[in-house]
Every structure is written in C-alpha cells, then in structure tokens.
C-alpha cells in the first residue's frame, strides 16, 4: 500500500492535488457506513462510493472547467455530511474505519491489497507519461493523440481504488497521507521524473513498514505511527533541500 500510494501520489502532488487524496478518503465515509450497516466488507462500500464520486468529479471537471480541488472540496463535505447522518442514525462505531487497525487485517485482506496495489501501479505506469505531458501542456498532449480527459478519469479511478484499499490499513482519516506525504518528500530532493517516482514509492514503503514495526514495538496504533514515520522522512528531505540551496 505504501508503494502504490507513493507512486500514484507522485502524480497527485504534481497536479497540485495533494489534499484531494485526503478529501477523497473522507468521501468514502458513507460507503464505510453502508458496509457496517448492512454487514458487507467496508472496502466494497468505500470503493463503490469513491468510484461514483470519481466519475462525478471527472464529469463536473470536464463540463464546468473547475479545478478538481474545488469539486472534490464540495463533494467531500457533502459525502461527509451524509456519512455523519448515517453513522449517527445507525448508531455505528466508526472508530476502526476512521483510524484503521492493521492487527485486524486478515491474510485475504493483505493479499487483496497487494494484488490491487500491483494492478494500480502497472496501470498508472502505462499512463504516467501521458498524465505528466497533459500537465505540462494540454495542447502538446492532444496534438500527440492523447485523450487528456480519459487519462484523467482512469487515474482518478485508480486513486479511488488505492484509497479504498488503504482505508482498511491506516483508516479513512489518515489514508490521504499515503498519497500526499511520500510524494511531497520525494519532490524535495528529485532532479528528474524517474528518481521522483521511484523515491515516492520507496518513501511510501519506508513510512508504512517502519510505522507498522514501531507500532508493534511500542504497542501503539499503526495508523498514526505510519504517519509519524512519513512525516519524519518529510522533515529530513526538507532539511536536505534547505541544505542544498
């Protein structure tokens, strides 16, 4: 999850959508509540809601030409409002869904997360250059035969998939970290795209694994420890960047 979050997040940060991943994770709240209410895997509920949201965000972006950040901002608060109403009226305990708990992750969950991460990374690798070119110049991308809006849609769907999978492990409140912080750390010290994407993935993996190990060792919750590890990496890269100037 750390690797896929970091890799997909590297594009999120370049698109100046670092906080979109965070907002996206909150969009999943009604899906989580549905899963808990009707006793089906919360991942499926979260993914269904995220999938629909991604399509709505993409379509609104195409039609209104508003930035994804504004659209996700509106969608996110609406989804959160609906989620809270469902939680309160359904008398649910969403603590685990909000904060995640890796100790409750089964072998099946872990295998599914690995499989989904591999698919998400491979598909993102196929569209990585197209997405970057679209960011640099939409005209150049279109003149090269790239459908910028379709590529954006595929990317948003892949982000939904990774976010929905990550919720189980680090929880809805913290999964946004996985797509924002490792990439932001990598950007601080990268001179080219290859280094940047590789380092984003590596920092995601380092944050996730060291956080989980530390949480085991210190007997603390895994989600917050993953975030604390990642922020430590971020602080180091900020210092390195500052030193290099």
């Amino acid at each position: 999850m750390g690797v896929s979050g970091g890799y997909l997040g590297s594009l999120m940060v370049l698109k100046k959508m670092a906080l979109v991943g965070d907002a996206f994770s909150h969009v999943a709240l009604p899906g989580l509540a549905l899963g808990l209410l009707f006793h089906f895997p919360v991942f499926l509920g979260a993914f269904a809601v995220l999938f629909v949201s991604a399509v709505v965000v993409w379509q609104l972006g195409r039609v209104t030409k508003l930035s994804y950040e504004s659209i996700v901002g509106a969608t996110f608060t609406l989804a959160l409002a609906i989620g809270i109403l469902m939680v309160v009226n359904g008398q649910l305990d969403l603590l685990e869904a909000l904060f995640g708990d890796i100790t409750n992750v089964t072998l099946f969950d872990a295998t599914t997360a690995v499989a989904i991460s591999i698919v998400a990374i491979l598909l993102t690798k196929m569209i990585y250059k197209k997405l970057v070119l679209g960011m640099i110049s939409e005209e150049l991308a279109i003149s090269k035969g790239i459908s910028v809006s379709k590529t954006d849609l595929l990317y948003l769907l892949l982000v939904s998939l990774v976010v929905a999978t990550g919720i189980k492990i680090v929880g809805s409140l913290l999964v946004g970290f996985l797509v924002a912080v490792p990439a932001a750390s990598a950007k601080n010290i990268s001179s080219n795209l290859l280094k940047y994407s590789v380092m984003s993935s590596a920092f995601g993996a380092i944050s996730a694994s060291s956080g989980v190990l530390l949480s085991n060792y210190l007997n603390l919750q895994s989600g917050p420890m993953v975030v604390i590890s990642g922020i430590t990496v971020f602080a180091v890269t900020v210092a390195l960047r500052w030193k290099a100037k």
Binding site: I136, S137, E139, S143, N192, L193, L194
Partner: protein
C-alpha cells in the same frame, strides 16, 4: 502563374465559435510550400485558436485543406513546467526520441550540458529551443510556432529566428508563426496574415513597410528597423 501544387495549406471560409462567441470569422488564406507565414494581430484576435484549428484540436466551420503528405510540428506559446521534476532528456523521450543529444544539437544546444537539466530551470531561450527540438523529432515538413520569442531575453531572440530561417532552408520546411513583432514579420517571414477575428490583411510581408497597410493594421505608421544610436 499560380499552381495549386505550390501551396501546402488552403483555408477557406473558416469560422470558429467558442462558448457562443465568434473567435474566427470567415478567414481565408493559403500558404506556399517552403515559405514562412507570419500571423500578426492583437491579443484575443484568434491567432492561437487559428493554430489549434489547423491542428484539428477545435471544431470549426469552413475548410482546412493540407495538401500532400503533411507532418506538423507544433511549438506552443507556453508550457506549465513549474516545479515538475522532469529533465530535458525525459521530456524529449515522451516523443520516443532515440537520440536526444542530436535532437538538441539540431537546435544548437549542448546535449551533454542540457539533457540532464530540469526543464524548469532552463532560461527562456533554452526552453524555446527544447520545444523546437520536441517539434522537430519526427522530421515535420510544417512547423507551427506560437510566439517564437515569448520569455526570451532581447539578445536571445535573434539567434532563434536565424535558426528557424536556416531550418526552413535546409529542410525545405513551411513555417507558420504567430507574432506581435513587426520586426519579425519584416525580417523573417515571406507572407503576412493580419488577423483580428477576420482577415485584415493577407499578402507579402514586405507590404508591412507600406504606410497604407500600416494604417490598415494600426491606424498609424509603425517604426521598423534598428534604433538610432
């Protein structure tokens, strides 16, 4: 005598509307093979939209006829590199450039020095040259160039224009360039299309020295030539 085969592009009755506003209105012109056409006009005159239309990127009414086998290289006015950590080599490899150093050599950039640099830290002139290298990768015979000297300091303008002229001659390239600069029209183009939604003037570039033409374009005479010392 005019022969139809001499022309590589013929545009007839071209109109473009975007969000119900007329951007181009009944535009007619043609471009002779191996020549440079300068497209001149104020901001909002529809120059960039004209290029996007020629690239078939926007819907239009009328006719855009490219004659024979045409390969178009496009250099946009702006790209949003910002702080994207992408090297020159990586950028050019997006177009499957197998030999990046020779692509850069063709635009008089030192391949060894520039290819590993981040696109975002290049000077205006270097960036324009990299964009020209991008456009030249698959040996186009037509180059559409949106404002060749945007973001380039005064000393860097001339070498780019001279290089374009040499490319035109050596590769028998047809060049269409957008400019605000009367000096560029006069020195580096063969034909002039003055645009302000519709065509104000279409003819030989040297006509821009004609006071009557200048009054049509600007309402008054414009000084062209080297400043007096």
């Amino acid at each position: 005598m005019d022969n139809d085969n001499d022309y590589i592009l013929k545009v007839s009755n071209l109109s473009v509307r975007i969000q119900n506003q007329a951007i181009l209105d009944n535009v007619n012109f043609k471009v002779r093979r191996g020549t440079t056409l300068a497209v001149l006009g104020p901001n909002g005159a529809g120059k960039t939209v004209l290029f996007r239309t020629l690239l078939n990127l926007v819907p239009y009414d009328g006719k855009v006829e490219w004659k024979g086998k045409v390969k178009i290289g496009y250099v946009p006015q702006n790209i949003a590199v910002g702080d994207i950590p992408i090297s020159v080599k990586e950028f050019l490899s997006f177009r499957d450039a197998s030999d990046v150093p020779s692509c850069l050599d063709a635009v008089r950039l030192d391949g060894k020095d520039v290819s590993g640099k981040r696109l975002g830290i290049l000077s205006g002139g270097q960036l324009r040259r990299v964009l020209i290298a991008w456009a030249l990768i698959d040996n186009p015979n037509v180059l559409l160039f949106d404002e060749p000297t945007t973001g380039v300091d005064i000393g860097g303008e001339e070498p780019i224009l001279v290089m374009l002229n040499e490319l035109k001659k050596s590769k028998n390239m047809t060049i269409l360039l957008i400019t605000h600069d009367v000096h560029i029209v006069n020195e580096y183009s063969d034909y002039l299309l003055a645009l302000n939604k519709c065509v104000n003037f279409f003819g030989e570039s040297k006509e821009i020295m004609n006071p009557t033409v200048q009054r049509t374009l600007y309402g008054e005479t414009v000084c062209v030539g080297a400043p007096q010392r």
